[in-house]
Each structure stands twice: as C-alpha cells, then as structure tokens.
Symmetry: none
Subunit: 190 residues, 4 copies
DNA sequence: TATGAATGAGGGTTCATTCAT
DNA sequence: TATGAATGAACCCTCATTCAT
C-alpha cells in the first residue's frame, strides 16, 4: 500500500493558496489547482472532501501558522508594552515575509465562505493576544475600550497600510512603521 | 430609433448590486441578474459590453453616489474640524442607510477584479476630502503624516467597526461611535 | 427572438429513447444524447430541466402515444370480446412496429427511476382498458378475478413472448400468436 | 502462498447483490461495493477481472443457487402434476424468502449487460425443468405448445404478481396464489 | 431595442481501474 | 493476498456570450 504523500498535500495547499489569493476562490478551479500542483484533479479529493472543505482546511492551516509566528517570543513575564510591541512587529514581519499567505487570510477575514466553526477555531489560536489585552486593561495601561475598538486602532491601521504597500500605492518603510506604531500605541493607552 | 430604457438600466444595476453583494461576483450569473431584473440575458448586453464591464460601471456608479452623499453639506467655509466630523458622520450614515451598497463597495475595495483605471477614476470623486486633508495639515490641525496613515486611523477603524456591526458580532451604538470618533480625532491631530 | 425548434426537441427525444433503450439510462450520458441529436449538450437543458426530468417527460410521451395506438378503434359499442381482441392485437402491432419504443417502456415499467406521479398519470391513459375489464366482469364474460391476475394471464404472456421474439430466441408468427390469444382468452373467461 | 479468502469473496458478492438490487448496476460503484464489503477497492480486482465480470459471475452464482432451491425435492418418480406443482411452489417460496436475490435476477433477466454466454450457461441449470416439460407433453398432460408459451402462462404470470407484491401494489395471499396456480395449470394442460 | 434560443467551454465531482507497497 | 493512494476520463450541469428574429 502506498503512503499518503505529504509533498502532494503540501503542493496542493500551496497551489490553492497562490491561485485563490491571485484570482479569488470562485475563479480558482479544482483543475487549475491540480495542474499547478502537478497532480490529477481526482487526487485533490484524496486529501479534501470537496472545494469548500479545501478552503476551510487551508484557512485553518494558515491561521495556525500565522498565529504561531506572531506569538513567537511572547510570554507572561514580559511587560504589557513589550509584549504588545513584539506582537505588533511580528504581525508586520509575518505579512512582509509571507505576502501570499497574508493576502489569503485577508481575503477571507470577513467572508461567509469560511464557515463559522472554522473561524471560531481559528480565533482560539490568538487567545494569548486576548489575554494580553485584558491584562493591559487591568493594569490600566490600555484605555477602557472594547476589544473591537482596540483592534480597530492597532491592527486594522497596520493591516490597511500593509495592503497598500503590497498594492504598490505606498512604500511602508521603517520610519513610517514607527510613526504608525506610535500613533496606534497612543490611541489605545492612557 | 428607440432610446435605451433608463429603467431597464437601473433595474439591471440594482439586481446586480443585490446579487453580487449577497453571493459574490463569481456566483452571480448574468442569467440570474437578468431574471432578478425581469429582463432577458441578451438585454444586459445592450447596456454593458460584458460581465466585467458591468462590474466596473456599477462600481463607479456606486462610488459616485456614495461620494456625493458623503460630501453633502461640506464646503470650504467650514472649519477643518467641522468639515471632517461632517464627512466622518456622513460616511457612517451612508453605510447604515445603504448596507447593501456599502457591502458592495467593500467587497471590491481590495479586489483585483475592478481594474486600475476604474479605481483611479473613482478616487477623484473624493477630491474634496483630499483638499480638506491638505488644508488641515497647512493649518497645523492635522499631524504631519501621509494621507494613507491619516486614513488608516480615521476611516479604516470606522469601516472595520461598521462591518462587525453588520456581521452581528457587535452593536455599534451612539456612545461607541463617539468614543471611536474621539480616538480617531486625537490620533491624527496635534 | 428565435422560436423554440420543434425538430430539435424531437431529435433529442428520439436520440434519448434510442440510446436509453440500447444501453440503459445510467449508461446514456447527456453528451451522447446531444451528439446523436446533433445538438449542443447545453441545448438539452433548454427543453428539459435535468436528466431525470428528461426521462419522465419522454416516458409520459411514449406511454401516451402507445395508449392512443392501442385504444384505436375501441369504443363502448363493441362487444367485450371484440374490444378485448382489438386491444390485444393493437398492443402486439404497436410493439412490432415500434420495437425501440416498446423496449423503452418495458425497461421502465417496474423501475423506480420513473417517479410515481409520472406513472400514475401514465396509467390514466389506459382507463378505457380498465373500463372494459369491469364491463367484462359485470357481463360475466370475464372470471371474477382481480385486474392484476387478469393482466398476468393476458398481456404479461404476450409481452414476454414479444421480448423473446425481439431477442431472437423465438419467432412469434401468426399461428403462435393465435394460439397464445386463445389460451389467454380461455384463461380469463368463464 | 496464501489462499484466496472465501469469506472476502462472499462479502463482496453479498455487498454487490444488495447494492445493485437497491440502486441498479450503473449506480453501484466499485468503491461502494468495497466499502459495504469492508474491503479495499483493489481487493475486488483480486477476485474479479473487472466490473462486468463481477456482474456475470454473481449472476451465474445466484441463478445456480436459485435453481437448486427450485428443483429441491423434484425427481423422476414424481408424477408430472406433482413435480410441476412442486417447482411452481418452490419458485414462489424462493422469491418470497430471498426478495433481494429475486429482484437481482429479474433486473438482469432482460438486460443487455449480462452477456449471452453467461445466460446460456445459466439456463442449463434448469435442465430438469425442461425434461419435465417434455415428459408432460409426451404423457399428453401438457398441451402441445412450445416451451416459451408454456412459460408465458405458468411462470411469467407468477413472476409478475410477485413483483407487484414486492412493490406493494398488491398482497399476494394464499388464496390468490391458489387461484393463480389453477388458472396457470388449466391454461397449459389438456 | 429587446428577446428567448442556442452553444462551446468549463465547472466540481465520481468513476473504474492501476500503482506501489 | 491485500491495500489505500493515485489517476485520466467521463459524468451532469451552468456559464458568459452570441444568434436570429
């Protein structure tokens, strides 16, 4: 009996992420994914139940990878400020180093295509970030605002700028990044 | 020769916006648009060259409508602060009153589908907003930051919160809106 | 606007009947039907909702045609004996003259593929036959047996012999037919 | 060298008969048969050359089993009448006790799928029945008719009624069975 | 202008079968 | 022998678009 080939699985995932990011989910056919992954269309169905399941699994996979990169080096002993800055920078670094994966997650961040269960599970990966937010509020470092507003003034602006950076409308250099960080930090801290 | 029927044109646009917003561009077939608009599929091709052209024209149309709503009441005589607040609130009002159109524009804001020319043209509609931004910088009201950073801390946060409001993850009430505005204003002003 | 082309409809039906009879429903693809009918596969969907609907419509059509042929010349004024003989002979004639259509209906006579509604409707076409059976019983010409037993000894034997005739296992000549008729008549009459 | 596992062979046959009877030959995939038989799809090809060969072998197997059941207790010493009645009843009993196998054989009785050789071979299993028929004619018990007509008025009616019994359109009780037998006997005897 | 008919290309998916272990 | 992985071909069906009126 043949073993399940991990390289094939990876090739399919990579092809799917690349194509979906470039052309969108609906315009990415299973055939095209197969062709890009150098695999028969039928082979995809050995690893994934169907197209939607493929999307969900890949989304979870990328989110997990992303979260582990972003939370790298963060632990309870760090001060709120240092921990937050580290996460913020890690997020930026991940996006810059993995532009395709970053674009992929952004495409489905607010999409109904990725089902709710899948999204909930993915949000658990980021629990340490939530803990930090709560600790910051307890320590009166952060303003007494909701998580959504907090995110809206910290990660949302960065995300927006990174997107424009990738689109070529903007060059997000070191200095701009620092400016942005400073404004964000001031916006949500007392 | 008969004139092109403006009602038919409008019906097609409305149908397209509704269906695209609900199901996405790729899952919205010309036949379905035709059926929803009570028109033959072939008739759509009397008004639009093809599907992509339909999307572009509709995108421009909605952007134009949106900009005229958002800039309503804004003129040079208003102080920077008053003008900005007015625009910010108008934007919120437009989104709340036109959830479908708002969702429609958001869907394509970062999409490769709407071609570059189309996007550039659409940004000209918001020139008064750009003028205001420059005036604010000249008057030293706004910080000396780029337009992109300015937007990232003013409209981007609001857009994010509105999306979460529509998704049901959040209730964006009067008080939260004020809090958000205050943080945004403080973030970009000296 | 183009008119719906009745020749195309007919060509599709003929092709479907022929292919389904020869190869069975499951082994008859829409593409093959299209090719045989000299039509695009998509065109079939202009006339039929889907493959199953195609089968149902064709089944009804053939049954209707068949019943009108079989009941031709039969009316209330004929004696039970003469009317029955006429129907019996008409049935034989129809089968011999329309071997493909005969085989087609036989293939689906006891099949769950043709849905119940469709079958019920088709059985109404043969109501005159049922009336004759009841009249025969009232007049004490026929034995006091159920319709099913009646059919089992009149049409079922003939059907079986016709099938063997077509399969080449048998030559169903005039004399054999008369013998069969006589046995059938004696079997169900007092 | 390991022996071929007879239990696996049997499991595959049972699964195939069940699925084919329930869903038809074309809608029964090798994978589904494998799954139902708790076996790998590839294993089926150890026992059968391909799908068609699987069908033929199973058909022969069931026919053989059926014939041995039907001819059980029949021998040369019995009178023609007693022997015939025994066979007729055995046939009915077999059908009632093995509805799936009965339905299976019926499905392919007039199908082009089971190839000619296969059918011929299967008919040899019933040779004792043929002998009885010839003896009955010699003894002037049976009318001087062909085997086909004989079958058409003895087994064909019973088969038809059993089918309707299974389809639920009819309840074939003891009394009805007797009536049917009597008519059949009278139809083919002097 | 306006239309329903018509279509080739392509969609996702399943299939019988073979491969490699 | 026995298997799960792997596959090209084929499945039904929908699509954006054009045709003919």
């Amino acid at each position: 009996m043949r073993h399940k080939d991990d390289k094939k699985n990876q090739a399919i995932c990579d092809a799917a992420i690349e194509l979906i990011t470039a052309n969108g989910f609906a315009d990415t056919s299973m055939s095209k994914i197969a062709k890009t992954a150098n695999v028969s269309p039928a082979t995809i169905y050995v690893y994934f139940e169907n197209k939607e399941n493929l999307l969900n699994k890949i989304y979870l996979f990328v989110k997990q990878e992303m979260s582990s990169e972003i939370l790298k080096g963060v632990d309870q002993n760090l001060s709120v400020e240092k921990a937050f800055k580290m996460i913020w920078n890690n997020y930026y670094q991940y996006a810059i180093k993995n532009p395709v994966r970053f674009a992929f997650t952004e495409q489905f961040a607010n999409s109904p295509m990725v089902d709710r269960i899948c999204k909930n599970e993915s949000s658990t990966y980021f629990k340490p970030m939530l803990d930090l937010f709560n600790r910051g509020k307890e320590e009166k470092v952060f303003k007494d605002i909701s998580l959504e507003i907090f995110t809206a003034f910290t990660f949302a602006p960065l995300t927006g700028l990174i997107k424009e950076h990738f689109s070529g409308a903007l060059v997000l250099d070191e200095k701009m990044l620092e400016t942005t960080y400073k404004i964000a930090w001031d916006a949500v801290t007392n």
